[in-house]
Symmetry: D2
């Protein structure tokens, strides 16, 4: 109800503020006997970690995950897995200047009015730092899905007005290698170079810019998704929209599909060597809210980071006019780090629906 829990069967609850003692997560509902590879969890956190390149915030956090429960001799036990990530590099004094001012397009004002109190340091609970907890839990979801052969891949497909070409997604491992070979996390090398250059220019101007992330999920069995409200794409949409700064979501043909004719848009079924598939995939791998075995594809749009290194007019808690100056350590563009958050949330949605599916499927 208070909004800090996601998922029904494979379920996470996160906690923590940007400048508190720690952030963390309880993952409840992870099946027993999953190999919990702590190095993998850490490697995922490292991809989201601040300070990893010149185009990310320079806050220094090791983001070291400590597993407090639910794992015995390297395997999940079916009991809640609690993970804590201590906060280390809190320069709270960087925030004393905003203690009673509302930063434009941040959550300062709404938190203050809603709760009557807020931990203003670094945005408190509204900080994207919370997403590190999601990445840790998402890493375990990936380990679970890996046992079933399900793969998830996201990359930066757009920054500002720059747009990467559509990629052949038949080899996700190859795309992953290409994505990790550049700091912007775009799997198309030419676009990546252009985007890196552009973001670095934006950063030097003290400005920020938005971007887009495209995701593919492969080898999902037919049958995931619970109509009519918990359609697979509806839960993916909610998961994505719950990530800081996301303003748009589309799957399959998306907004463009709404400009098409039925005769163009319909995906024709074919039987290829006892493998039922569709010739096109405007459905994005989901029909009637249920996965159809084709690649699940969706795109997510992120607004520009609200903190800019420029003076802006605003008001304070008393409602008086004032000016706010950009301080602190922030990202010029959020998508290079958000790629791993998108993958984590996607993994959590698929893991949750996989367990729902098995509850009923086995029952038949």
């Amino acid at each position: 109800m208070a909004g800090n829990t996601f998922g029904d069967i494979f379920k996470i609850s996160t906690f923590g503020e940007s400048h508190g003692a720690a952030i963390g997560v309880i993952l409840d509902g992870c099946p027993a006997l999953i190999d919990i590879d702590e190095e993998f969890i850490q490697s995922e956190l490292d991809k989201r970690r601040p300070g990893q390149s010149k185009i990310t915030t320079q806050r220094k956090e090791s983001d070291t995950a400590q597993i407090l429960s639910g794992v015995f001799e390297g395997k999940s036990t079916g009991t809640p897995i609690a993970i804590v990530i201590p906060n280390e590099d809190q320069r709270s004094k960087d925030y004393s200047h905003i203690q009673d001012k509302f930063r434009p397009s941040h959550a300062d004002y709404t938190y203050q009015v809603k709760y009557g109190i807020r931990d203003y340091r670094g945005g408190g609970r509204s900080s994207a730092r919370e997403t590190a907890a999601r990445v840790a839990a998402g890493a375990i979801a990936k380990l679970f899905l890996k046992q079933r052969g399900i793969e998830i891949f996201a990359h930066v497909s757009g920054v500002g007005k720059l747009e990467a070409p559509n990629l052949d997604s038949s080899n996700l491992q190859d795309l992953l290698t290409r994505r990790e070979s550049n700091i912007v996390r775009c799997a198309d090398p030419a676009s990546a170079a252009e985007m890196t250059e552009y973001i670095d220019q934006i950063r030097k101007n003290g400005n920020t810019v938005g971007g887009r992330i495209s995701t593919v999920i492969r080898n999902v069995p037919v049958g995931l998704g619970e109509p009519v409200f918990d359609k697979l794409h509806a839960d993916l949409a909610k998961a994505m929209m719950s990530i800081n700064a996301v303003h748009g979501f589309e799957y399959g043909s998306g907004f463009e599909g709404s400009q098409m004719l039925g005769s163009e848009h319909n995906d024709i079924f074919v039987n290829q060597d006892s493998n039922i598939r569709t010739l096109t995939n405007f459905s994005g791998g989901i029909q009637g809210g249920i996965s159809n075995g084709m690649d699940i594809t969706f795109k997510t749009a992120f607004k520009p980071v609200a903190t800019i290194m420029k003076d802006q007019a605003t008001i304070n808690e008393q409602g008086d006019d004032t000016t706010i100056s950009g301080k602190g350590r922030h990202d010029p563009c959020v998508v290079p780090r958000a790629v791993i958050i998108v993958e984590a949330m996607a993994a959590l949605v698929i893991a949750d629906h996989l367990l729902k599916y098995e509850a009923y499927h086995n029952a038949k």
Copy 2:
């Protein structure tokens, strides 16, 4: 878990298949003492009803809502409100030709594999007929919100490549009148005429086309939305994506916002006569997942209806190649009727979050 329930406090559960005895809904969590205006509920259903114009399906359903419980002497009692809408004009024989064939871009295939059985008549549970139940419950949500002065308005802002201009939303009653004066439900008369003409042409060709719906919600108090997962826009996204044929959702600046710079996108706070607002509204009335008192704005993209009056290749349940011919009574474009579904789901989300807000707000 099985996906037929939406909302936490103001909560609906729908049931029913396209060609079964009836469809319906239980609304649990409606506060007591709300005036239940049955005429209003019926008038909402009439806007979604099939057969209302030449550009909608010709299935004839009166869609008469029967309230079975939860209302006493015209007022809600705080107990579950059950509403049943009998199915009347089921021409099930129209569907005998698809009994063992999978219609392209429909849910026939995924339902069959997921459940091992399906009511193939009219798409069974996957039919958009289910949304009549949502409209009935949404009408009660609107009656509740009306007591608080909250208004919701949606209209068709795009059909295929046609796009209506942005409208001044300062007078929603006026827009509503304009919207209801044409059969496509677009509040801009010139665009409406163009769209109507276009859809009618599409219909005559036996084809279908997608479209877009824009929504504004006014007078929502500051504070609705539960971070971090149940952000107000995340729940709106899930609600919208759960509507049949929706492939995309964006709020505030949306996908376009992801092309902007932070310095352009930030909404500057001002205090206008003790009324705190922002000069622009790229945030779409929601910051940090919480309503900020400005108009809440979002857009939804609908794919073209999958049933077209043309022969299409497909496979049957045995996996053999076959051909399917378009039959039955279908909409050439879904958005004119979907406007009222979008409003209903929006009302349900706002009502649910309003009650959550009051649980905690009062507790302070």
Copy 3:
């Protein structure tokens, strides 16, 4: 949240007031392909039906269940099963004398204060008539469990100070036959005769009396129950305490067990022909909140029916002293009809936990 839903995966939502148009239930989460035997559902309702003997209320209701959705050609489809039971014999005028009076030990006062409005006719929503909807859904749960060989048996083990001896539960079908051979629903013939006589005497005096129901569930696999909060016995307790008039619940050794020593109470494990069991069963088939394969046993205590055919002092809505006279048609003792409600709720709990178990079990 508003309390009219029970279960997580195999989930019911009931609606309806005693003297409204109908009562009913949506069962969401019933697996597909279960044979829905409508005659069995009706036979279960007939056991709960009023007017079945001289020691039950004389209200005449056929309690005919109408299935509106979720069943196709005799089988569940995996979509919500809606069942409606119309109210027929509402003598609402029997209740005009209590329109503004609060009956002692009824829910009139608490409903009035909580909701500010109440349907006073027959107790409205607080009437045990609502439990007919539970019995209908419980019948489907039984059909599902039957496919797995799980059996549930309840009978009246106590009325007032009368107590039936403990019964050998190795043949539940036999006990069922014996139970159904008498109107009090006690499987011990001698006790049944005594109880019938006693209740009839109470009835003639215009009084009422409490009673107890004992339940056995057999062939539950090891592993049902989700620690630490959703222990199998905790969910059984909630289910039973949610039935009108229940004031107590115990499982296994129960209250008596709290008087014992550990050396007496421990159940010793033995391996009998590769069948692991315990020599005693003070654990009631549940250890650590999880079924251990032994018979699950519990007992439920019902208070005397509050409506008596005598004058009682009370107050009215204005807070003034007044007198209330017993009228209407009521049961002198609730347990003979409640047996089937207890079984229904037990079946719903086991079905729900079975599906949870399979979600995780299959995942291994």
Copy 4:
């Protein structure tokens, strides 16, 4: 779903094993601006702490609560409150002898079969050590309820066959003082002395014994409880039955009430100086599942602790016969420490229902 979460609005999720790194809890849904008195939280934990007297286990745990989030400058912020309690005195080697044996009437066998893996050290997740997390969260619930004047008091009313007399509950502070003046936590001094003596004797014999706890909740407003399934007493029952070793629950007249006549059992309403109350309170402060303003009263029965200092026959994981010897540090009787767990769970139920009540109540 996996059972480690309790509550809907005021909601806790616990984690941790007996001999893991730590146990803990996330409390999500605590309203903002509650004074979080850390000393009070610690004093509650101290009452549940092991090693506090000769009649409790000698395991030494300081049970120091660390708040990681959700509190800013001494007040709750409305964001999740995470509390971690490190494990200190784990003598895991005490448990090597049970690594592959199933202790009688423990959860070893059911956990092993359910999950296929278990942390056998100290019972792992099934250990009552988990309840320390509940006590920490319950302390915050008490702080919230205290602001509303709601008081909760539990004490040991029975040990084995010993039973304390019923107490006048008009002054709960006085009873609390008397309870805390003895190590058995019974508010009747004479009974306390007898019980202490008895438990100490049991302990010296290497045996254990069961007991009973009685609870009173005062000043609960009329209107808490959500019929028909989430009746206030149904949620209290589930909460109590979820505590380790609890085998029985009754409220108001309880099992005894089932032996009474309606004419004896009905609680007559009276208006005493505009204060509506009942002359008797067999209803236990709850009618129709909703609090009626009278004292809420219930009793809970605990079985004897399963670990005894005697040799017992059992089987091992291979299914072979073996013998198990009592080792480790255990309580001879669980009720003196369980008093505080009962209060904590009661506080969590009332806090949750209070917020539900306010959601709807305010909405009127």
